[in-house]
């Protein structure tokens, strides 16, 4: 079968020693930052972004992907043990996970969390493997108007789901687009917004912005208030869930995986919203919903499966269409571009080693993570005890080195610091950074496709609406943008509050 041959070739790439090592580093670091509150997968990927410049494209993507799904494993550890989510996608796990820990059942909670994550991750990779080829075929029909409209839709969904005011999120998206356009115009090479500075001729780098917003900004935010953490003091015995736990958890895991996978594919969706929705679904379906919030194992198993499944699903729009569905995939897109690879429908045919290699490495990575998370729990608990006052200088140092090593430009450091302050202020004033970053990465692409479309149609904007796919995307986007004006839908949106990045 053709598929088997391709996945076989993928494993051949993924099992190369260098790629195996990068995979391990990625999932290890991913688990580490998942465990540590105060830094999340976006921050870690930003920090390690410059490191990947020197490696092969396969290694780079493998490692960055590893950080992403690794963080989903690690985040549950702190949620269960300390009632502090390691990152946003593990918030829901706190609800029942910590209660289980308080009842002396931390072990099974951690165990089912790791296993659920493994199943969710693996099932979603399977889905990715099966769906990507036909979707790529479909995507070849996409022209500039379709790409433009799909990106608009993706940005709109992210804005829609943003915490707080939609106007603010849209404003951030607009700022992101403007920042992305700084530099030389790609069509006629005129300098835009460069203020006669040589350093800006190539545009503002993604690395200083992301490291500033998510690295430095997060540190400043954490420093502002004194952090207090009480690690659960009991010894953790018996990691394996009981037979009864299995019976209760198996269908939630399957359902969680499905919910996560589907929501991960949607632009703007992702691990966080999947975990919330999966928890809500299990509570609805349960015969004894009153157990939720008191230590119900389904409340741990399902969201953990969902957030891992969402990571697999999120790869689909990126790999098949070249459109990142969330901030993290936008970073990955940046990584692809740095290595001169164009993700999209042609990726599978032009670069099958990279495509299938990354997929195969995700299987391997998930297996590594199961090993890392079950037996090594004790080690992660120790890590939790490192005080933040020792940690934050190291994080800052890492940011500084990382951003300097990209172009040996002190200017980049200043840009990063500036965005660190901006990121801090944004968080305080309730402006979401995620739409800004996604718009920054998509901005130049949006402009390009817009201009190409208009040239194609010779000035007619109707081209966006006469082509069915493009029309569907734009209509949906418009509906989402206008929905807060309808009171009932506006209220529903507030129920789905989320924090996508960090």
């Amino acid at each position: 079968m053709d598929l088997l041959a391709q996945i076989g070739a993928g494993f051949a790439v993924a099992l190369q020693p260098a790629n195996l090592m990068y995979c391990f580093i990625g999932v290890f670091i991913g688990t580490l930052i998942g465990v540590l509150p105060g830094i999340g997968p976006v921050g870690a990927m930003s920090l390690l972004f410059p490191v990947t410049f020197k490696s092969s494209p396969e290694a780079a993507i493998i490692m960055l992907a590893g950080i992403y799904y690794g963080a989903m494993y690690g985040g549950s550890t702190t949620s269960i043990l300390v009632n502090i989510p390691g990152e946003a996608a593990s918030v829901v796990t706190c609800l029942d996970g910590y209660q289980m820990a308080r009842k002396g059942r931390a072990g099974p909670a951690l165990g089912i969390s790791a296993i659920g994550s493994f199943v969710g991750g693996t099932l979603s990779i399977l889905g990715l493997m099966l769906l990507a080829p036909p979707l790529s075929q479909f995507a070849i029909q996409f022209g500039p108007p379709e790409y433009f409209s799909l990106m608009v839709l993706g940005l709109t969904i992210l804005v829609y789901l943003a915490h707080g005011s939609m106007a603010k999120a849209l404003l951030m998206a607009a700022v992101g687009v403007v920042l992305g356009l700084v530099g030389l115009d790609s069509i006629n090479a005129r300098p835009r917004l460069t203020f006669d500075r040589l350093e800006l001729v190539d545009g503002i780098g993604l690395v200083p912005i992301v490291m500033g917003l998510f690295g430095i900004g997060e540190v400043l935010l954490n420093l502002e208030q004194a952090l207090r953490r009480d690690v659960f003091q009991t010894r953790i015995t018996g990691l394996l869930p009981t037979a009864r736990d299995w019976v209760e958890a198996r269908w939630p895991i399957v359902r969680g995986s499905l919910v996560g996978f589907l929501l991960g594919i949607l632009p703007g969706g992702g691990a966080v919203i999947s975990s919330f929705l999966s928890y809500a679904l299990e509570k609805r379906l349960s015969r004894r919903p009153e157990r939720f919030g008191q230590g119900a194992i389904e409340g741990v198993a399902a969201p953990e499966a969902a957030n891992n499944a969402a990571t697999g699903g999120a790869f689909i729009p990126l790999m098949t269409l070249g459109v990142p569905p969330n901030v993290i995939m936008a970073l990955l897109l940046g990584a692809f571009m740095v290595h001169g690879v164009q993700p999209g429908p042609l990726l599978m045919t032009q670069n099958p080693g990279l495509f299938w290699g990354v997929i195969a490495s995700m299987y391997i990575g998930n297996a590594m993570l199961l090993v890392l998370n079950l037996p090594l729990i004790g080690m992660w608990v120790q890590v939790l005890k490192v005080p933040y006052r020792i940690l934050f200088p190291l994080i800052l140092l890492f940011c500084l080195i990382g951003v300097y090593s990209v172009g040996n430009a002190v200017f980049d450091i200043h840009v990063m610091i500036a965005f660190g302050v901006i990121g801090y202020l944004m968080k305080k004033l309730d402006y979401e950074p995620a739409p800004l970053v996604l718009a920054f990465v998509l901005g130049p692409l949006l402009e390009n496709n817009l201009r190409k479309s208009l040239i194609l149609s010779q000035g007619g904007f109707s081209i966006f609406f006469t082509r069915p796919i493009s029309a569907a995307c734009l209509v949906l986007a418009l509906a989402l943008l206008l929905s807060p004006l309808l009171p009932s839908l506006g209220r529903k949106r507030e129920e789905i509050a989320m924090e996508e990045a960090t």
Binding site: P50, L170, L394, L397, V410, I413, K428, L454, G459
Partner: protein, 150 residues
């Protein structure tokens, strides 16, 4: 009235106006052949409009439930930012190792002050480990500075 929102929306208005101006200067072109300023101008218009919405909501809406700056340790933040700016300024003059040691000592003492010997050894150790990892292993080009170390 949400003062923070009002203030930030005014900044947004100013920025939006600036972007509109920049877009206009770069020429919008015709719809059939959009110029460099086309997208910039209209995004600027959007920024002005959105800032106006935030402004109106900020003026009409309630003050935030919890004070924004309560318990904020201002001095720490300013200190850290100043330290980072100083680092950037000194990096190529003093070289990587020296500047990093200075920064780390400062940071270890700033938030919750460590004892001097902890700060010093921690700083030197971290700087050297970072040097080994980044310069030697990963091949980053870290400046040696005037003194030739690092």
């Amino acid at each position: 009235m949400n003062r923070a929102d009002v203030a930030s929306s005014l900044v947004g208005l100013a920025l939006g106006a600036g972007v509109m101006h920049a877009g206009w200067d770069l020429e919008l072109g015709a719809p059939s052949d959009p110029g460099s300023g086309f997208v910039l101008f209209w995004v600027g218009v959007a920024m002005v409009g959105l800032s106006a919405i935030v402004l109106v909501n900020g003026v009409r809406g309630p003050a935030p439930s919890r004070p924004l700056w309560r318990g904020a340790r201002w001095s720490k933040i300013v200190a850290v930012v100043a330290a980072l700016v100083a680092y950037a300024w000194l990096l190529e003059r003093l070289g990587f190792v020296l500047t990093t040691v200075l920064l780390l000592v400062f940071l270890f003492k700033v938030v919750e002050p460590q004892r001097w010997w902890v700060a010093l050894t921690g700083a030197v150790a971290s700087a050297l480990i970072a040097y080994v990892i980044f310069k030697m292993w990963l091949g980053a080009q870290l400046p040696a500075g005037v003194l030739g170390i690092g």
